[in-house]
């Protein structure tokens, strides 16, 4: 039987948290190298494709940028590896939810700490697991909705909370900037001796 999920509002039971801890401690050391792994896009494709039936080629555009421009790809890779675990085999997700996970959540986690921290520090590892599960509408097996939410709050690091707050502010500034630009476009601008 396969279950489809994807919303964080009401979560479904996911894999056992101990299995997921092991999954992370088994992360291939060579993928921690300075450069993002070769075949990055192919890995992301496979990770999404085996958990969602709706993947389109254009969905992969966010992962085709130069890796040096997107340091958060390291976390994307870790998340892709994480959700490829057999313990997720029976679960299916909307592709959009997985794309959000591999972009937005990856960016958020990357801003709060390097990949190696989420592997070696047991508290941060648990934070990673709970953040990822929550982002795709899951909670660890055996936990109630409330328990899972409480534990997510409890393991949320100051670093990540700071990142979340900064991201919210950045989003707000970006919106204001977009509006201001659109408004100024419709208006006049300032004098220049010549125009391009």
């Amino acid at each position: 039987m396969s279950n489809t999920t994807g919303s964080a509002d009401s979560t479904m039971q996911g894999p056992d948290i101990n299995i997921l801890h092991h999954r992370l401690t088994d992360y291939p050391k060579e993928w921690l190298d300075q450069k993002v792994a070769a075949g990055f896009v192919a890995i992301i494709h496979d990770a999404i494709f085996c958990r969602s039936a709706e993947l389109k080629a254009s969905d992969l555009e966010p992962f085709r940028r130069p890796p040096k421009q997107c340091d958060w790809y390291r976390l994307t890779l870790l998340i892709a590896y994480f959700i490829a675990d057999d313990s997720f085999a029976e679960l299916r997700f909307p592709a959009a939810s997985l794309i959000d996970l591999l972009t937005g959540t990856a960016e958020e986690l990357a801003a709060a700490g390097p990949t190696v921290l989420y592997l070696n520090d047991v508290d941060r590892r648990e934070e990673f697991i709970r953040v990822v599960l929550n982002a795709i509408g899951l909670r660890p097996a055996g936990e109630s909705e409330n328990q899972a939410q409480d534990r997510l709050q409890a393991v949320s690091s100051q670093e990540r909370l700071k990142v979340l707050k900064a991201a919210k502010l950045a989003e707000e500034r970006s919106r204001k900037l977009r509006e201001a630009l659109a408004e100024k476009k419709a208006q006049e601008s300032a004098d220049k001796m010549m125009r391009e």
Binding site: Q34, P66, P67, K68, Q69, C70, D71, W72, E107, A170, R173, S174, K176, L177, R178, A180, L181, A182, K184, K185, E188, S189, A190, D191, K192, M193, M194, R195, E196
Partner: protein, 448 residues
């Protein structure tokens, strides 16, 4: 009730009685056009003083395209990483500029807000819209201080062409000429041009009470400088006015020598061609005796990159890529302009030569040889074309689009002789500055 333009202290802070009277005279005269819009410098007195200092400082700096001569770059990169959301996501272990990834217009077009430093206030933001020919329209964020800094580089370009901006005499310092059915037009006063006038006019007859008013206005107000794109300037050159400006400033990817000659004969003054983009401001300008663009900005490092993004040796052709710039609201970190050229150093400084506004396009000759679009530009140099485009079909046939000219047959014969395929002429019926066209396209090119 709206204030009159000559009492518009909001757009023209610091406007004094003399400036106000000057502006009134430019607007309120018998042959004046219908000014459709309003604009102003928006500069506070303290910003005018800062601009003067900026201009003095910039005039004294050397300009180099060698990374080693640009010691400001490291700090600039550090600031980008710290303050610009897009660059903050970079792998910041990159050791040097050459190791950093490049940014394209498409990156900016996706979300320009990610390129604006977070610490800058937004209350006086302005925007310049650019459509380009790449299919990636951009709204370039800017600020009145940034817009005014253009004057610093234009003055430098004037100086290199023997025209001192200190010696401007007329009450009207600059006339920006447009030629479009509809166009933003206004009159203003420039504190960075001795408080003299600046008008943006549309020389399309639609914008005037009587078509003859156009030449009467020019002769009556005698602008020291005229600026515009080649299409507008060629249209302007056809009007029978007697005034001769001190210089004409133009922006064109390819100001053909023939077109320059026509303008020079008509206006009898230096014709200064600027390589300028909305994203960067003026990058280079033409100087007497050299068919290339001398680099203008001391805080804009120009690199030439190959198709893989690696810097090429001076003298080799590639994509023009820039770092730095004077727009605080759009710091550029290895921005690929989409334009192509070579960097060259001579006794006068650094130059961009063989500038073309698009990636190389190849044209096949009937004998099976491949010619680069630069060769075609060389061939067309002697003709006075303000605008053109050439397309090669799969079977080798060519279509040349040009404005009406008595030399049309000669041009098409020259192309047919060079390429060995028939050339069909397609006339551009209505020249207009707002219709940008891609100059070279081909169904055959191995490069485009």
């Amino acid at each position: 009730m709206q204030t009159s333009p000559w009492a518009d202290y909001q757009r023209l802070p610091g406007l004094d009685d003399e400036g106000s009277q000057r502006l009134k005279t430019l607007i309120d005269q018998p042959h004046a056009p219908r000014f459709a819009n309003r604009s102003g410098h928006h500069l506070e007195p303290v910003e005018v003083s800062a601009l003067e200092a900026y201009t003095r400082e910039e005039a004294g700096r050397t300009i180099s395209a060698k990374a080693i001569d640009n010691d400001w770059v490291d700090e600039f990169i550090e600031n980008c990483f710290k303050r610009v959301p897009f660059f903050r996501q970079y792998n910041q272990d990159c050791g040097s500029l050459a190791e950093l990834p490049t940014v394209s217009r498409a990156d900016m077009s996706r979300d320009i807000t990610q390129f604006v430093p977070e610490h800058l206030p937004l209350d006086r933001l302005i925007a310049f819209e650019t459509s380009g020919t790449t299919g990636h329209p951009l709204l370039v964020p800017s600020h009145p201080v940034v817009a005014a800094r253009y004057s610093c580089y234009h003055k430098k370009a004037l100086g290199w062409n023997g025209v001192s901006s200190e010696a401007l005499q007329s009450e009207l310092a600059v006339l920006l000429a447009g030629y479009q059915e509809k166009c933003f037009t206004y009159a203003s006063i420039s504190p960075y041009l001795n408080n003299k006038g600046l008008v943006k006019l549309n020389f399309h007859p639609n914008g005037w009470n009587h078509p003859d008013d156009r030449q009467k206005y020019v002769d009556g107000n005698k602008p020291d400088l005229i600026s515009g794109d080649p299409i507008s300037l060629i249209e302007l050159s056809r009007l029978p006015f007697n005034h001769r400006p001190r210089a004409v400033l133009t922006t064109s990817m390819t100001l053909l020598a023939g077109c320059r000659r026509v303008l020079q004969q008509r206006f009898e003054c230096p014709i200064i061609d600027l390589y300028s983009l909305n994203e960067t401001g003026p990058i280079g300008c033409s100087v007497p005796g050299k068919n290339r663009f001398r680099l203008l900005q001391s805080r804009l490092l120009v690199e030439i990159l190959d198709a893989q993004g690696a810097p090429v040796e001076p003298g080799e052709r590639g994509e023009i890529t820039v770092t730095g710039g004077f727009n605080d609201y759009l710091p550029l970190l290895r921005y690929r302009t989409g334009d192509y050229g070579r960097l060259e150093l001579d006794v006068d400084g650094w130059f961009i030569t063989e500038l073309e506004g698009r990636p190389p396009t190849q044209f096949k000759t009937a004998a099976g040889k491949w010619l680069n679009n630069v060769d075609i530009t060389h061939l067309l140099q002697r003709f006075p074309l303000s605008q053109f485009s050439l397309h090669q079909h799969e079977d080798g046939r060519l279509v040349l689009k040009i404005p009406p000219t008595p030399e049309a047959d000669e041009i098409s014969r020259a192309l047919a002789d060079k390429l060995g395929f028939p050339v069909a002429l397609d006339e551009i019926e209505h020249a207009s500055s707002d219709r940008k066209m891609t100059q070279y396209t081909s169904d055959l090119s191995r490069l485009s």
